[in-house]
């Protein structure tokens, strides 16, 4: 569900980029990826005057177009790992390019220790991601945070590996 929405947002981003990358063109509907104005009835002619658009660097997303939306953390830490900095940057770009997109950052902790304190640890992780998104162009109205602490584990066991899968922030696009 959220993956589908993510793809839709991505496609919207790509379609904006494809029509010149100008940020002055309002997107009538970010989920509407095909814009067809042939229904106006008018038909105009034109010719090639040899002018060129501006070139730009692009990144080839080798993962197939969809951004990973789970970020994992070390034990007792709310610091982003180096590998995840770029991932968060790309989510920030996505939000900056789509002012109507909003995300919910869901922070989680492993099961060790007290439940309400773990809510605090999960929130700290959400806030790390939130600050990174804000610094890189997302606006605060696009971001909600919630911490589930240890209440919604991704892995049910009690091994170190399970714990490492549970210390996470999930970035969920909610419209």
């Amino acid at each position: 569900m959220s993956n589908l929405k993510l793809i839709a947002v991505l496609l919207a981003t790509l379609s904006l980029t494809a029509c010149g990358g100008s940020d002055t063109i309002p997107d009538p509907d970010p989920t509407d990826t095909v814009y067809d104005d042939s229904a106006s009835g008018a038909d105009t002619g034109g010719y090639d005057d040899g002018s060129m658009g501006e070139g730009e660097f692009f990144e080839d997303d080798l993962s197939g177009g969809e951004l990973t939306n789970i970020i994992y953390f070390e034990f007792d830490s709310s610091e982003l790992r180096d590998d995840d900095q770029e991932l968060v940057s790309r989510h920030a770009m996505q939000l900056a390019n789509n002012p109507s997109a909003t995300v919910r950052l869901e922070g989680h902790a492993d099961e060790r220790g007290s439940r309400e304190y773990n809510i605090g640890l999960g929130e700290r992780r959400s806030q790390t991601v939130r600050r990174m998104l804000l610094i890189q162009g997302a606006t605060s109205s696009q971001i909600q945070t919630v911490s589930f602490g240890e209440e919604r584990p991704a892995a049910l066991g009690s091994s170190e590996e399970d714990y490492s899968l549970n210390r996470r922030v999930e970035i969920k696009y909610i419209n």
């Binding site: 060790r112 309400e116 809510i119």
Partner: protein
């Protein structure tokens, strides 16, 4: 939406599960006193009394870990009033206390339950008491009588007539179901008071035992609710942006200590006046400040803070002000809960890598580790300050255990309900 939820909760209030908790005593380090609870007499229209009161009292006394009730087959006589007791028949069996009594029908659904407690060695009556009951109340009345017997014999108030609230989580193919459950202290009479597909956390009793505050994640955000148990009606008392958590009632029942995180996620302790809906901020530290809990005299709030690095327990005036650190032993102390007599502080304590329940004597400042698991949490004192209940693990599931404050008597409360967590012991019932 709210109305729908209200209907759902009130329907659930009526859905009474079969007793799914069975209690098993795993350690009985204390010496058990031999007692006799003689089968009660019955004076009524039908063939049997509405409840086997003496069996319930006997089970209560046995479960406390402090008494060893004599089997019925070993009794030489079965008197139902004090006048019929032959004290020699009991002292020869080494019994140190004898309970006799009867249930008398006084109306279509009205009964009088009476008991007398004797010391057969001194041949004296220690107490005689009777209470009216109906079919609906006779179980509770019988627990109250057991409480009186327990207090007379030990000097400690009984808690057989109290309740325990806890949260269960069950996973199935379509997701998770979280339930907030209230049961009698002996595991009977289970009632689901709230059910949700989103997590439920941190139940807290009001001082009059009539309401529960709790945290719900319905709608994928946290909010604090206060629910009246009798009606199932509930009110949303806090749904600020960010974290709404860790409610704890003030001793007068008018306020809640809560944790708010705000948009920036800086968890601090607030006091919420429930009726006026006024929030007063008590801490401002950048650290995590959470799990506020009132001292029984209402003057202080104990809370968890990691302002010194790891989580430790602090204490401040209930009006705010500079907190003082309370715990210094070990790298992790969290979730403070005071005993009702104000003398003991229970917490989750990291004991050489294991998260265990520890109790600090506030006068002597020494810490006693009471549990033996590696993932123990959520300690809560019984209102007699003598027993604690907490959650531990068996395999992947959370189960409940109780332990006497001296660590000698331990009970495991088995439940068929998947993962059980966050037990909280009710205050004494009020009438």
């Amino acid at each position: 939406m709210l109305k729908k939820l209200l209907i759902a909760t009130s329907l659930l209030l009526m859905a009474q599960a079969n007793a799914e908790i069975t209690i098993q005593i795993t350690e009985g380090g204390a010496k058990r006193t031999p007692v006799a609870v003689v089968p009660f007499g019955w004076e009524g229209q039908s063939s049997d009394a509405p409840l086997d009161v003496s069996a319930l009292i006997s089970a209560d006394l046995y479960r406390s870990g402090r008494f060893d009730p004599l089997p019925e087959g070993d009794m030489l006589q079965k008197p139902t009033t004090g006048a019929d007791i032959d004290f020699d028949d009991w002292s020869i069996l080494g019994v140190e206390a004898v309970v006799v009594g009867k249930v008398m029908q006084t109306g279509a659904n009205a009964y009088m339950v009476q008991f007398q407690l004797f010391d057969p060695l001194r041949q004296t009556q220690l107490v005689a008491y009777r209470m009216p009951a109906s079919r609906g109340t006779i179980r509770h009345v019988s627990h109250r009588l057991a409480d009186m017997i327990y207090e007379k014999l030990t000097g400690i108030k009984g808690v057989f007539a109290t309740k325990v609230a806890f949260v269960t989580a069950e996973r199935n193919s379509s997701g998770s179901v979280y339930r907030l459950v209230v049961a009698d202290q002996d595991g009977e009479n289970e009632n689901v008071v709230m059910e949700s597909k989103d997590p439920i956390m941190s139940p807290a009793w009001s001082p009059d035992s009539r309401r529960l505050a709790y945290v719900s994640f319905e709608g994928n955000k946290s909010s604090i609710w206060v629910q009246t148990l009798r009606t199932g009606n509930r009110i949303n008392v806090s749904s600020k942006p960010g974290i709404n958590g860790a409610p704890s009632f003030s001793p007068d029942g008018r306020k809640l200590a809560i944790t708010l995180g705000g948009v920036d996620g800086n968890l601090d302790i607030y006091v919420l006046d429930i009726n006026a809906r006024e929030f007063k901020r008590l801490t401002t530290n950048r650290a995590i400040d959470t799990e506020g809990s009132w001292s029984p005299d209402g003057k202080h709030i104990y809370f968890t803070s990691d302002r010194s690095g790891g989580p430790q327990i602090y204490r401040m005036s209930a009006n705010g002000g500079t907190p003082e650190r309370v715990t210094f032993e070990g790298s992790y102390n969290a979730r403070p809960r005071l005993s009702e007599d104000g003398k003991k502080l229970a917490m989750v304590h990291n004991d050489r890598g294991n998260y265990r329940i520890a109790v600090m004597d506030l006068a002597r400042k020494d810490l006693l580790v009471l549990s033996t698991g590696n993932q123990d949490e959520s300690p809560s004192f019984a209102p007699n300050s003598d027993i604690l209940i907490y959650a531990t693990r068996t395999g992947r599931n959370g189960v409940l255990e109780s332990v006497s404050a001296d660590g000698l008597i331990r009970q495991k409360l088995e439940s068929g309900q998947g993962d059980v967590r966050e037990p909280v012991w009710s205050p004494f019932p009020r009438f």
